[in-house]
């Protein structure tokens, strides 16, 4: 039966054909194709991993954002409270400072008033003594006149002084 007896020519050419095909593909096709396939598989694996991570991060991001928001609010409240406290303190400080200053000014004023009073009293005393001296002088000059004249004189002098003043 021809079907079951292998033909030498066909065996020979089959070896040759397979050899040629194998060499061509082995040299020019398989390394490139298989490397390409492996590289693509790696790339896809990496992509999937990356996407998974990204999703995870996205899921976490909302939580994190909420956390940050709450934290920010707390910080804001703290800051406001702090500021309020500082404001009150500053006002308080300003007030005490102002009081102190006012007290100082008033004290100085009191001191200067007292001094002026003293000076005025002194001047008055000096003037009074001066007037007394002048009166005494004039009285002494007219000692010969009567008592009436003397009284008149004193009165006139006093009037004079009064009018002078």
């Amino acid at each position: 039966m021809e079907l079951f007896t292998p033909d030498f020519g066909l065996i020979f050419w089959m070896f040759v054909s397979f050899g040629v095909l194998f060499l061509v593909l082995w040299r020019y096709a398989w390394p490139i194709i298989l490397k390409g396939l492996d590289q693509r598989a790696d790339l896809i694996d990496k992509g999937v991993e990356y996407a998974q991570n990204a999703k995870l991060q996205l899921d976490n991001a909302k939580e994190e954002a909420d956390k940050y928001l709450a934290q920010a609010r707390r910080q804001q409240a703290d800051m406001l409270r702090e500021a309020d406290k500082m404001k009150n303190q500053i006002i308080e400080e300003a007030r005490t400072e102002a009081q102190k200053e006012a007290q100082k000014v008033m004290d100085q004023a009191k001191v200067s008033i007292a001094q002026q009073q003293k000076e005025a009293e002194q001047a008055f005393r000096d003037q009074v003594s001066d007037f007394a001296l002048q009166i005494a002088e004039k009285v002494t000059k007219q000692n010969l006149a009567d008592d009436k004249a003397q009284t008149r004189l004193v009165d006139s002098l006093l009037d004079e002084m009064e009018s002078k003043n």
Partner: protein, 374 residues
Amino acid sequence: MKKFIKYIFVMLAVLLPDFAARGAEAEPQSPAVAEADGAHSDEGKVNPKEIIFEHLGDAYGWEVPFDHHHRIPLPIIVKAKDGGFRCFMSSRIEHGEEYTDGGAVFTIAKFGSPHQGKVVEIVDGEEYRPLDISITKNVAALFITVVLVSLLMLWLARWHRKKGSKSPRKGLGAIETCVEFVYNGVVKATLKEDAPKFAPYLMTVFFFILGMNLLGLIVVFPGGANLTGNIAITLVLAVMTFFVTNIYGTKHYWKEIFWPDVPLWLKFPLPIMPVIEIFGMFTKPAALTVRLFANMMGGHMIVLVLTLLIFIFSAMNPVAGGLTTVVSVGFSIFMLLIDVLVSFIQAYVFTMLSTIFISLAREKGHEGHEEHAK
């Protein structure tokens, strides 16, 4: 592909009227028979056995559709008895003529001779069968397959070189899917770290077989040769797997054959197990050979028989013939579709078994594992 199908339709449209005319003037014999029975059978007589075996076997020329007088001539290369090689076209001896070249007379052996249908040299009136390495129909189909498979794979390789990690689409995508299927599903899954070493051989085997199987299903010129249904082809493939398996076999593999882990009486005075194991070495490739050969030949044969049924029944009764035509054509189409599936499955099975044989021969065994453990 669409264009190709269009071509077939155009060809049919041109040739059918011619056919109908011929059919009308001659006997109710269809062109398929005319094509099938070739030069041998006489008018009107359908000899199914002859037709089937002619179609399954090899030929020196390549049939063209609807014309059984002319064939595509192919070169015949023979080593004549005087020791010199002779090369001439098959058209010179196609119809039983004698061709003389440098004193050597060649012809095709007639029906009844031990070398029936083969080229013989006539020496002193006796038929002498020379060493024959002709480019027969099968060899030519082999070359076409080689060219086709290389072109497809080089095309895919070019894509990978140019486009990097981008995925191809359409036709190239389909090819790449097959490559990936075989590489990841069979070679890598079975051989693990040995995969890159044996992948080129196994992938070449797969695509070569697949190419031959599918080309064999195309009925007209570039296809139609029953390549994988020829025992020479499958034998060569199996022998190569045998060599790869045994050349790359590990120490453990050879120990398992000559001194397996069985009770001593099974291997010492009478080497029962070693003999069985050595026998097993050869049954593996034999199984590979016969499986692929029988499956593909069976597919071709069923389609041929279904077609021939039409002519057998037509010879009995025109009505029965008409009915059989409808049934047979339906079944033939169904069988051809099944054969497309079988083509793929058989290429897959051959590759998978080769991979498994290689992986069994690559086993490191317990010693290796223990050494690793230490």
